[in-house]
């Protein structure tokens, strides 16, 4: 793994641009020590012959032992299998719902893919409703498909949203920062007042607090996190907590 890691090491945590390449210097390793090594290329990296090509601008990240990807600030979502998103139901046709997830194509959602749904017992979903769902099929050549149940047939937090609350869009980079375990932003925000939040990996965020005013404050704070450093954010959050808004 050392030979692979060494070629990425100096660029880790740095900004890289499309067209940059990483080459493996196999000659440095002794003849007998050459073993097949696997590298997993995440978003933004792809194999091009003997080298690895960067095709997005962003920050190079690494997860042990052999996962590398590029963390970029984008706005447009591209469906990925297994990701959870917030969708808007746009049409009902026969036994499927068409759901807008912000990608290049509308996703389909079967009415049987809800907890407890049967052919007789249809779920109560209307056009315009919000759903929190997961991709079971998502690739570039096929229509993406969503489900609102896990593999055991349980809702597991997915399904149609209740009334009230506010939906807004943020960049995909911010969404990933919000969903990171032990996210600093969420921790700081929780101290101000209690609220409910649903974060979809497609850049949609839904929040609901006790009053409309508090909901709007949370939404505005989250939107402003986009372009702030940690210090700036903490100063702003402290001012809000003291009641200056």
């Amino acid at each position: 793994m050392e030979a692979v890691y060494s070629c990425f090491r100096e660029k880790l945590g740095q900004v890289i641009l499309p067209g940059d390449v990483f080459c493996f210097d196999v000659s440095a390793v002794e003849g007998s020590a050459v073993r097949a090594e696997r590298v997993i290329c995440g978003p933004g990296l792809r194999r091009n012959g003997d080298e690895i090509l960067v095709y997005k601008s962003g920050i190079l990240r690494h997860k042990a032992p052999n996962l590398y990807w590029i963390d970029s600030q984008q706005k447009r979502y591209v469906p990925v299998k297994g990701e959870s998103v917030i969708g808007i139901v746009t049409a009902k046709s026969g036994d499927i719902f068409k759901v807008d997830v912000g990608g290049s194509e509308q996703a389909s959602l079967s009415y049987l893919a809800f907890e407890g749904a049967t052919k007789r017992n249809r779920p109560n979903v209307q056009v315009g409703d919000l759903v929190y769902a997961q991709f079971t099929i998502a690739n570039k050549d096929m229509e993406p498909e969503l489900v609102c149940i896990d593999s055991c047939g349980r809702a597991n937090g997915m399904g149609v949203f209740g009334a009230d609350g506010l939906l807004f869009k943020v960049s995909l980079g911010l969404v990933r920062r919000l969903l990171a375990p032990q996210s600093e932003i969420v921790k700081d925000l929780e101290k101000i007042f209690p609220f409910e939040m649903v974060v979809g990996l497609n850049g949609r965020v839904w929040v609901k607090a006790k009053t409309v005013q508090q909901t709007l404050i949370v939404a505005n704070l989250l939107e402003s996190c986009e372009n702030m450093t940690t210090q700036q954010r903490q100063v702003l959050f402290r001012r809000v907590a003291e009641g200056s808004l």
């Binding site: 900004v15 499309p18 095709y55 920050i59 600030q73 706005k75 194509e105």
Partner: protein, 220 residues
């Protein structure tokens, strides 16, 4: 105005850029070269009209909006130059049956407009996070009546020139991706201009890197 010396006689006017300045498009950028300024917006990968759908790659559409009035044949020619350059670097097979739209709004034209459009387009495509195999930049050269080569000419210098050429240079091998020429020149002059453009492109690519770094500086 400061001029940026790139060595061996090629001089670029002062340039600047900003990424992600519009809220609606998926990617946006401005690019300034001296007094020439272009604003670019990118939408995509988005839903595509059935008659424009290509089954194995994305459809790229480029629109050049002039500063005043309706777009004419001249804008159409620019659109085609930019579109063919972008198609050469974009990995459009990664998003089949989708549409990519690039809008270029001319804010002010003071010469070297096509190269400014190319630079703004590249910055906006990068901002949108679309898959690109390499970067590109545009450099305009003018040959004046004394056979002097001027890189990045102003509108005045363009009018007084004998020949005018714009090249799109790629970031990997410094090859010419697109060329657009006007006027008369010898083969030797053409080669000199290409060499000067390749030299000037180094500066622009370094500038791309610095401005993207600045953009990501807050979340590093």
């Amino acid at each position: 105005m400061d001029q940026i010396e790139t060595g061996s006689g090629s001089v670029l006017r002062e340039y600047g850029s900003e990424q992600n300045l519009l809220s609606k498009p998926d990617g946006s950028a401005t690019f300034l070269q001296g007094d020439t300024s272009v604003l670019a917006g990118v939408y995509g990968p988005a839903e595509v009209k059935v008659n424009k759908e290509i089954y194995d790659r994305a459809t790229l559409e480029v629109v050049v909006q002039p500063k005043v009035g309706m777009s004419s044949v001249r804008e159409r020619a620019r659109e085609q130059c930019v579109r063919e350059t972008c198609e050469a670097v974009l990995l459009s097979t990664l998003h089949p049956r989708s549409s990519l739209t690039l809008i270029l709004q001319v804010v002010h034209d003071d010469g070297s407009l096509l190269s400014c459009c190319l630079n703004a387009a590249c910055m906006a495509l990068m901002d949108a996070g679309l898959p690109m195999g390499r970067l590109f930049c545009g450099v305009t050269c003018a040959i004046d009546s004394d056979s002097q080569i001027i890189t990045d000419p102003t509108a005045q210098q363009e009018r007084e020139s004998r020949a005018l050429m714009t090249f799109a240079i790629d970031s990997k091998e410094r090859n010419v991706l697109m060329s657009s020429t006007k006027g008369s020149f010898s083969v030797k002059e053409l080669q000199q201009c290409i060499a000067l453009s390749q030299k000037a492109s180094e500066k622009i690519f370094q500038f791309y890197r610095d401005s993207v770094k600045r953009r990501y500086s807050k979340i590093l």
